[in-house]
Each structure stands twice: as structure tokens, then as C-alpha cells.
Symmetry: D2
């Protein structure tokens, strides 16, 4: 990729050079100038594209999977969502993976753990439980839960009637890109949970008070589940005193109450509230984001394309793509759950951001 | 103080030495060995003694002050509690100050700020308010509030009928010992508060979710008031899954939700719950503590002396004094609010601690 | 990839499933169980293989490039070293890039900057200079220098006789994998350096004393060049009091003197000393490493393959590959410079490590 | 202390109030308004005054002590320097202690440790050694060494001819004010040092390179001695690229190479260089400082008083006192060593600072 700009590679191929390149290949070497402009782009060139998955499309497919394969055989019965530009990595956007997992009434999975970190956002069903390092959690629609790196986990549905469907989010493609993934099946196949359910919430849910001297030194939140009711209330409270940011409205991050930081070192999660009729202004930044419509209906414009969404739809914003969100309901608020790789981007000091300033902050829709 | 131990000062006074000492004094100098054993004690030698102030004694005196002096003339109308061994410093224990402040119905104070940090624990009255850096807070019995170093503050009572009494805690003696106190009267005498009451609670009270990108970089908690209901519920939740520590029972620290650390860099605060009939084991540690009985009745043994307390009593534990607490009610729990200088002790790496191991952890009462 | 183990995916393909998979593809979805065992491997499965580049092979090729293309046209005249398993990423190992850059006598490059971070290890030539954010550095053989993310940089050779060859190390593949790369040509094409050469070394080279209140808040080291003499002396000093680690001998990390941490958030660098005849024991860990033989001769065994190296050779160890090093000279020490992605691996909490315990810590060589 | 200002205490004593105050005393209580203006001053009111101790006065007294008492009987043979306003605390300024210690040729002290932290600045004698937690250090004139809190230490002089005199600095008054001092005599009276002298310097003296994975987690510097030569060279290097600050000239802080922070959590130390003829401008700040003239001659103006100093003189600046320094030699530089309580002041967020802006930054001398 020749660019006729000083400071960029402008070498034209010649026969002599071709011979030289061939010789280099023998020594497992190459000429930087043949790829420099590509691997040092002017700005990020993600292969990921904006994506939108409709729950009305996915739900029947997910339900179908529940009859086609047993959870036992599948490991977990998950329909994964794959970015058109990231199929070889099974990524939904950037280096993030997501999927919809279903568990039939009465079903449960075996326990395992891995170096990849996981999170869940519950969509439907009342019987969902998960045991994370011995803490049995009950979770329902709108709840957010985490399964940090290296924690034993197993899930199930103790309802006798309705299936559970939740969204999984993992950093599998990232951890694989870093050649750092490990996997283990639990030696007993199942954990023995403690007697009390939702221990982590009872211990750490107060947030503004912490257990004295608990000596937590792990790199992730000891709080493992964040109920929808507390989350939505926090947004309503926040909305009483703040308009939030121009690009996101009222937005809050789920935090590790021990440090005030993100829930895990590779992935963070947010919930944001769009007031009736609110339309945010566009911005873009490094980092990839997967959104889940937790409440309401509206649309987002991503890289100039409009996506109309409603509850339980999922959409993805690649790094450095312009994006803006609108609540299309004039009477009720809308809530977007999202997870992202921002903690990593910040750890590595790779955050960059820009506001879209033309036309009141709104992109032309192509 | 001569001690006949190798490694300690054992010099006996002689006439020659006396002459030498006198000569040294001319040069603003002295001989270390004349004071070494005193200033390098085997273990801490606080001048503070254990103290107990009964609310039934103090309340009439506090009410009386409300008729004797105007709040305006007094600056603030406060009965301060003074340790027998710390009168020259106006300290309740160690380098901590405490007092009971009263505000008559309809009264309000002028605004000021200082380098000393303050905290409040509300005892009675429904009309209490305080404006801290423009945030108007409403506080009631059992609520804990902070006025960090350098924040403008002014208080009042908007009840038409009942006085407000709360306990003040400050690090005035510490900040004076460090020659670092400053004081300013507000140029307008009063702040203009924001429209919404309890902004800090609405913004930061969720604890497990934080406002995105709020950019808080101050060294104290942006959450300024911690309601009693949330605090007591957090203790009850915690008690479902933990017995707490042997020396304190179920105990939680009020935290800065941005960092998970103590509310201010010089002082921290806790609330602890003693189950019906529970008696903790004795321990001791560096750091000074002032307790306020938030609920119930019981007794504490401090340095071998027994103090029987009931609601709203205040007592103090000096550094390195053995202490243990008991709830003397068989049917109801008891709650102790306390504040301390632990954040400073830990910053300076001066924490030391020991458990009392004899006799099941209980001191003989002399 | 079917694995007949409970807790792994064991679903066999059927016609009905094939139809289901096809239907999923329409919705940009897939069945996790078809790829689960691959993307959740039992342990890291790097595509990178161990590599060894001989300087005697590379040097003629590098010299040849200097006559084939102008530095101006090439951007920079660099022979890059490419892992057999990472050609599509232009990576030497993992997500690390490396290459050999040559500058003819009197030559200089234009200034630019990028989100990717760079480091240099100088091999030969006395005239090398680099200007990093206005600080002009002179560097010679054995010196280590950094060009952190976002710093303007330009290089040159002010010798009239000999070319400069140095090794570049960059995190380009990583920053591209994270879709976070940016590139800018300096608006004036060249910086105006300060009057004093090696300012950063004069200001920060003492290490054990720091400029008071310099207020450095950037995420990388303000010290930009680390001379060979100081580095080698530090190793000799260290060797007087420590045998180092069993797997690396006496090894020291180049640090940011402001924080004591790694020089940059994505890459770290070490220098290690192997005593005459010393052979370390094998270990493996997550993280990728590129070594440069700074002094001496010896061999390394990587994933069971033996590589005999001498001065200025380069070799690479992939994540989770067993590796051990030996100095084959009985009379002189050997020094290995290396750089790695460990700071990132630690930030993301992905470090894992194991010692090779059989056969005295030595792998069988296949 | 009545002040006729709104927002300050303005209550006049009456008979009724006197009776009330007496009643309060019975309950270990008092009226805040009787002391409020005193304990909440407009700005710091240190009892410490500026001090200057001439080495020509002190040296003979110190030498005399060596014949008057045995080191063994004295514990350590130290002439302590006492602030006129701090005699009851044996403090030189604020809550800092300092003294001059002498050891006769061939003498050595027994080992002990304490919660108070110590530092040394060597004045004369070539035979000084100290063993700190088993590391035997040799120190000479101009060297700075630390004995952090809780480390076993013992000193001696292995010269056969000349005595050793050094300055001790300790935080004894601070640690006592916080009721946190402990003292222990070594059970064996002496430590067994490691074979290599100055281990800490060999391991950590490089500063810009650190031993890999050393796992140092203590709160103080693992580097225990900072040689004069390295210190002076660092100042000369710094002076080539920076004029330093207007109030201190070229000034550097001795740091913990693991963290880049101060050497100990309670006390920090600096060395500063005044160019020939240089006179700094006055400023003031919280925090107390003790200076030692390491090189040259000059004067300082402290709170409007002029103190003319020469090599080995000691002087002290109280909190919030204006101060400025001048090198009165036109041909040679002057160096001031100093130690302070700044790390504590910063930990507790009590730093305040102001520049003297009138008259070119120079105080009138009264
Ligand atoms: Fe899993
Ligand atoms: Fe965004
Ligand atoms: Fe106040
Ligand atoms: Fe205690
Ligand atoms: Fe570059
Ligand atoms: Fe290794
Ligand atoms: Fe000592
Ligand atoms: Fe100063």
C-alpha cells in the first residue's frame, strides 16, 4: 500500500526488490516498507462492522437449540453472535464474544473454569441460578452477574416450567489473541455451595459500607451479582441530579465495591438511561462495545447506519465508529445495558475519543 | 528514668554531668540519655485514659447551653467532651476531638471551612440540615455525615418544634499537633445550595454502581451522608453470612465509593452489630477510638475497667488499651457507631495489634 | 473438534444440525458447541513458534537494504523478523513486532508519532541519535531506548563513516488487534530539540534520587535511554549479592524511575546475566518474549528445540513454551537483553507460570 | 480568646456562665466556645521557632560526651537539639527529633528496634558502619542512611583513630503524639550480618533497573544507604538541564526505588544545590524541615530572621514559616541536606503552600 506522503512508505516494486523480498523470506524476514502503511494506519481499521441482532429472530433459534442438543453434550447450549468481519475469531465485535444461552426447566450444567472472564445479563425465566466459587446466586431478568477469570462456575434453572435465557459475554477472543487461555473441568463435576444464597450481595451489596478487614486482594469484584432493581433505582436517582453526558445520557458503571474500579480487569459493564424522546450526540472512541436493550425502544446510528432496536435486541459498536442513541418512546424511558473492553484499553493507555461536532452532533444516515 | 537493662539508658546523674547538661542547654541542646527511656517507651504510653460520658448527664447540659448562649455568639453551640489526660488539647482521646452540638428550632449557623476534618452522628431531632460545598443534606437520628477538610459548611434546624442534637467528631488536635490548621469564614456568610437535596446520596449512594467518568480526584468521599436505614440493613445482611470478627462482631466501615477506602484520610468510621447476648473477646491496637451507642444497651471493658452503656452514651478507647464489648440485652441487638484515626495510623504504617488470649479472651475487671 | 469428555463439547454433526447451522448463519449467529473446544483450549495454543534469527544472516540483508531503497521512500529502512505462524500480523512472536533498522552515515528520518509504542536496542555504529518529544538522545551499542506511545520521534546517524544498526521492538500487532492504532506525520517534518543532549538521563538517570515535584503523570518512563555501562554494572553488582532466579539467573528490569514499574504499559524489558558455564532450569509462562544476545555465546532450549546463539542473534519464545538458557563460554559471562508483553499480561491478570521439574529442570531436546 | 468577628466565638464570660463551666467540668466536658478560636486558628500556630545550631558550638560538646559517659550506659551517646518551643517533646521542630551521635574508635552499640523511624547524615569519621536488618552498611561523610520503623539496627566505628559523628533524625515526637511507639532490645544483643557489605546498594542502587520479581512489599525503601558521590553527581547532572524551583534551586528527593516515593512513610529527605551566589525566593508551606549544611556557606532568612550558616551547621524551619536560602560563596556551590515530615503531610492531605511575592520574593529581615 503505497502512499505518496512524506513520512509514509512510497517504495515502488521493482524486479530487484522482488528478488530481495524473496531472499528475505528465506530468513523469516521481510521488508517493513511493504506493509508499513497497512500495519501503521492513520487511524484504527477494525475488521469488525456494526451489528444488530433482533431478539425476535434469535429467540426461536435459541429455543430450537434446546430441543436439538442436550446441554450435557454441548457443554453449554449457546447461540453465539458473530460479527461479519470476525468469523474466524467467533467474536461479536473487536475481541469480545457474546451469545445467548438457554437452560430448560430443571436442567443444570457441570462446573468448569477458564482464564477467560465471563458475564451474564438475564433476559427471561425466573429459575436461573449460578454457583460461582461456591456462592449460589439466584438471578432474574435485568440482573447482571459476573464469572471472573479462574472462578469455578456452573449454572442451572430450577423452574419447573419456563426456560431461562440469558446473554453471555466473554473475553475469549482477547485471551486467545494473547495466548493465555486455560480450561479446566471441575474434578467433582459439581461444587458444594454454601448454605446462604447470594452471599456476595449480602456481604458487598451495600456498596457504601464495606466489611471491615475482609482482606480481598483478588483482581475482580467480590460482588458477583447486581440486581436490576438496584441498578434501575440508581439510574433514577442519578437522573434527579444529573443530565449525564451528551453522548450517553445518564450512565453508570457497575463497580467493584472494594476498589471503586471496574468489575474485572478485561471487561467493564454499564447501564444507561435515555429519557423519553432523548437523542444523544455522536462520539467515537477506541474500545469495542456490545449493547443489550434492557428496556424500551429506540434507535442508534453507528458509522452512519441506523439500527432500530427494541427490548432484548443486541447491537455492537466497533472501535472508533461514530455512534449515537435515541429513545423513540415519548412517554417511557429506555435503558441500555452494555459491556466493553474499556478496562483493558485504559490499562494499556490506549484510550482516544472524539466528539462529533457537526450538525448538532448527529451523523448523516446513509 | 534510669532502667538497668542493656540497650537502655542507665546513666546516673553526677555533678559533672549536671554541669554538662547545663552547658548543653545554652546551645539549645540536651543529652538524649536523660530522656531516652521516656521518649522511647517499651510500648505506647498514652496520656489519654478510658472515658465514658452518659447521655443522661450530658443532655441537660447541652439543652442548657441552648438558652445560655446564642449560636451566633458561640460560633457553634457545642459541649465538648474532654479526656482527663488531654485537657490541654481539648481532646476526647488521642488526637481526636468530640462534642455534642445543639441547634434550636429554626436556628442556623454561618458558613466556614477549615483544614480540620469533621464528621457528625445525629442523635435527636428531625429538622437537621447541613450544606457541604453547596450540597444540602437532610439528616436524621442514626445518620452519619462528613464535612471533609476544606469544604464550606453550615448547619441548621428547620423544625419548628424540637431541637437537633448531634455528635461532632473532628481531628482538630491532630491537625494542630501537625501545625497545619487553617480557618476561614465564608465571604458571603452563607452558601447558595443546589436545588436538589441530598445530591451526594442520589449520585453516589448506590455504591455498587458509580457515575461514569465523574472524575472525582479529591482525597475524601463524594458521598457526604450515610443514612441509618441503609447502614442497619447492611449490618443485618452481613450478619446473615458472617459472624464478623471475634473482637468486634459484625462490623462494617463507611467507605468512599470511588476508592473503597476510608471516608477521609485522617479519620474513619464504623458501625458494628452485637447480637443479643453477644460478648466479644478483648484485643488491643494502636489508634484511638470514640464510640457512640447507636442502639441497645451493654457494657465494655476497657483496660480492665467496666463501663455500662446505653443508647447515645459515648465512650473512648485509647491506643493500645485492651477492650471488649458486650450486648447485655438477650432479645435485641445492639449497635455501636465509632470513629477513629485508623486511616492515618495505616498511612503512616503504625498499626500494631494483639489479641487477649487468656481466660477465653476476657480481661479481669479491677 | 469433538472431545469425549464431560464438560466439553461432544455434539456429533447430523443433517438436521447442519440445516440448523445454516439457518443460524443467516442471522449472523452460530452454535457455540461447534467451536467451543477450539476457542476454549485446555491451555494456550499459540500460532507462534520458537524462532531464531542469526545476525550473520541478517546483517548482509540489512546492509543491502541500505543501498536498495532510500530511507525517505521507505519511511524507515527496516528488515522485520516474522514468525512462521504469524505472517499475516507481521509479528515476531505473539503480538510483538521486531525488526532491524539501518541508517547510513549522515542520514536522518522525518518525525512522526503513533499509538503503538516502540523501543530500540542498539547493535552497531557510534553515530546514532534519536529525538523523542524534543529530547535529543545519543545512543551507542548495548544502549536501550524507548519511544513511548504518542511521542514524536525521529532518528539519525551523525557518523561520517559507519552505518547504525539497531533492533526495533514495537507492539504494533497488539495495538492493531485492539483496533487502537493511530499515526501522524509531524506537521513540520522535524522537531526542534532542546540544547542539552540526553536531558532525560541527566534528569532521571540517578534513579535513587528524583527531581522534586516534577509532576510527571504520563503512563511511561520519563527516562528515555538506559546506557549499557550502567546496565552491565547493575548486573555485576547484583551478582555479588544474589544468584538470581533458577530460570533466568541474575535478571533486572529496566524501570520507570517515577513509579518503579515497567517502562511502558504494554511492553517491558530486561537484561540478564548468565555466569560462565551457567545453565538455567526450564520454566514456562504466559507472555511472549523476544531476546537479543547482548554479550557472549550459548544456547537456549525452547519447546524442546535447541538454538545455539551468539552475539546480536535474536530469538523468540512464545507464550507457554518451556524455555531454558545456557552460557556455553566457561570463562566469560553472557548477557541477554529481552523485551516482552508482561506489563500487559499482568495488567489483565493473565499471568500463569510453571517450573519444569523433571530431569533437574532440563527438557529433552528433540 | 474572644474575637469580634461573625463566625468566631464572641461569648463574654458571665457569672452564670462560669457556674455552667464548672458544672461541665464535673462531667469531663467543656464549652467549645471558650477554646474554639484557639484550637481553630486562622492559620498554623506552631510553638516551634526557627532554630540554628552551629557545628563549632556543638562539636566540642559532642566530643566531651564521648568521655563523660560510655555508649553502653547511654544506650547511644547523643547530643539532641531541642527547639525552644518544644522542650517537653524533645523535638527540634514540629514533631521531628534530631541529634548528633558520636562513636569512639573501635566502639559499637547493641542492637534494638522501635516503631519510630530513623535516618542518619554522616558528618565526620571514616569508620562508620551500621547493620540494618542484617545488612552491614559502610557509610562516610555526606552519606545518607535510613533505619526504617521496626528494623533491627546497631552501629559502630571500626576506625582505630578517629571518632564518627553523624546526625540522627527521628520521628519520635510524632510517633509518641500518635501513641504508637514500641521499643525492643535484640534478644541476642547483636545481629549476624550477611557476608557482603552494602547489599542494599548493590541490589537497588542502580535505581533505573530493578531486580526482577523481588517481591518487596514493605512500606519503606529497600535501599538503605545513599552515597554522597551519587547524590552530588545527580545534582550536578540535574543542574545541567534545570534551574530547579525558584524557592529551592536544584533539589532532589532521595527515593524508594521500588515505588519512586519517599524513603519512609513518615519522613522524607532531600539534597539541594545552590549555585555560586544564588539566592532563592521565599515561600512557606505546612510541614517542618531540619536542614544540614552538607557543603559551602551561606544564609537563610526564616520568618524574618537571618541565620548565617556554614558546613555542618543545622537549622530548622517550622510549619508555615517563610523561608529563603542564599549561597554566599561566589565561586563554589553550596548543598543543603534536609529531612522533613512531608510524606505524612501529603498522606493526610494537609499540604498548603504560598509564595512570597513582594520585594522580588525576599522578606524584610527584622
Ligand atoms: Fe464458562
Ligand atoms: Fe460511546
Ligand atoms: Fe466547622
Ligand atoms: Fe478494637
Ligand atoms: Fe515510529
Ligand atoms: Fe521466562
Ligand atoms: Fe534506634
Ligand atoms: Fe520550603
Amino acid at each position: 500500500m503505497r502512499e505518496d506522503v512524506i513520512g509514509r512508505s512510497r517504495v515502488e516494486d521493482t524486479e530487484e526488490l522482488e528478488r530481495y523480498y524473496e531472499e528475505l523470506r528465506k530468513f523469516d524476514a521481510g521488508a517493513l516498507w511493504t506493509v508499513a502503511n497497512e500495519i501503521e494506519p492513520w487511524y484504527p481499521q477494525p475488521r469488525s462492522v456494526p451489528m444488530h441482532w433482533r431478539y425476535e429472530d434469535l429467540r426461536p433459534m435459541v429455543l430450537k437449540s434446546a430441543s436439538l442438543v442436550s446441554g450435557d453434550d454441548a457443554g453449554r447450549r449457546v447461540v453465539m453472535l458473530v460479527n461479519e468481519g470476525r468469523q474466524e475469531l467467533s467474536a461479536a465485535v473487536g475481541l469480545l464474544y457474546t451469545g445467548l444461552q438457554i437452560m430448560n426447566p430443571g436442567e443444570s450444567m457441570t462446573a468448569h473454569r477458564h482464564a477467560a472472564a465471563a458475564l451474564r445479563f438475564v433476559i427471561e425465566g425466573e429459575g436461573a441460578w449460578t454457583i460461582v466459587d461456591g456462592d449460589r446466586l439466584k438471578v432474574g431478568p435485568g440482573d447482571f452477574a459476573i464469572t471472573p477469570k479462574g472462578t469455578w462456575h456452573e449454572h442451572g434453572n430450577d423452574s419447573s416450567q419456563t426456560p431461562v435465557i440469558w446473554q453471555d459475554g466473554l473475553d475469549i477472543p482477547l485471551v486467545n489473541a494473547l495466548d493465555a487461555n486455560f480450561y479446566e473441568v471441575h474434578p467433582e463435576l459439581h461444587q458444594v455451595p454454601g448454605k446462604v444464597v447470594n452471599t456476595s450481595l449480602l456481604q458487598h451489596g451495600a456498596g457504601i459500607l464495606k466489611p471491615d478487614r475482609r482482606g480481598w486482594s483478588k483482581r475482580y469484584s467480590p460482588l458477583l451479582a447486581y440486581p436490576w432493581e438496584m441498578t434501575y433505582q440508581a439510574l433514577l436517582d442519578q437522573a434527579k441530579v444529573s443530565e449525564g453526558t451528551p453522548h450517553d445520557g445518564v450512565i453508570m458503571e457497575y463497580v467493584n465495591p472494594v476498589t471503586g474500579g471496574s468489575v474485572m480487569p478485561t471487561m467493564g459493564a454499564h447501564m444507561q438511561l435515555l429519557q423519553p424522546g432523548q437523542a444523544t450526540q455522536a462520539h467515537r472512541h477506541t474500545g469495542s462495545v456490545i449493547y443489550h436493550v434492557a428496556k424500551g425502544r429506540g434507535h442508534s446510528v453507528i458509522a452512519g447506519r441506523r439500527f432500530d432496536w427494541k427490548q432484548n435486541d443486541i447491537f455492537a459498536v466497533p472501535s472508533w465508529a461514530w455512534h449515537e442513541h435515541a429513545n423513540d418512546d415519548d412517554r417511557d424511558d429506555a435503558c441500555l445495558f452494555s459491556f466493553n473492553d474499556f478496562p483493558m484499553i485504559h490499562s494499556l493507555d490506549l484510550w482516544a475519543e472524539a466528539a462529533y461536532t457537526e450538525d448538532g452532533g448527529h451523523q448523516p444516515v446513509g
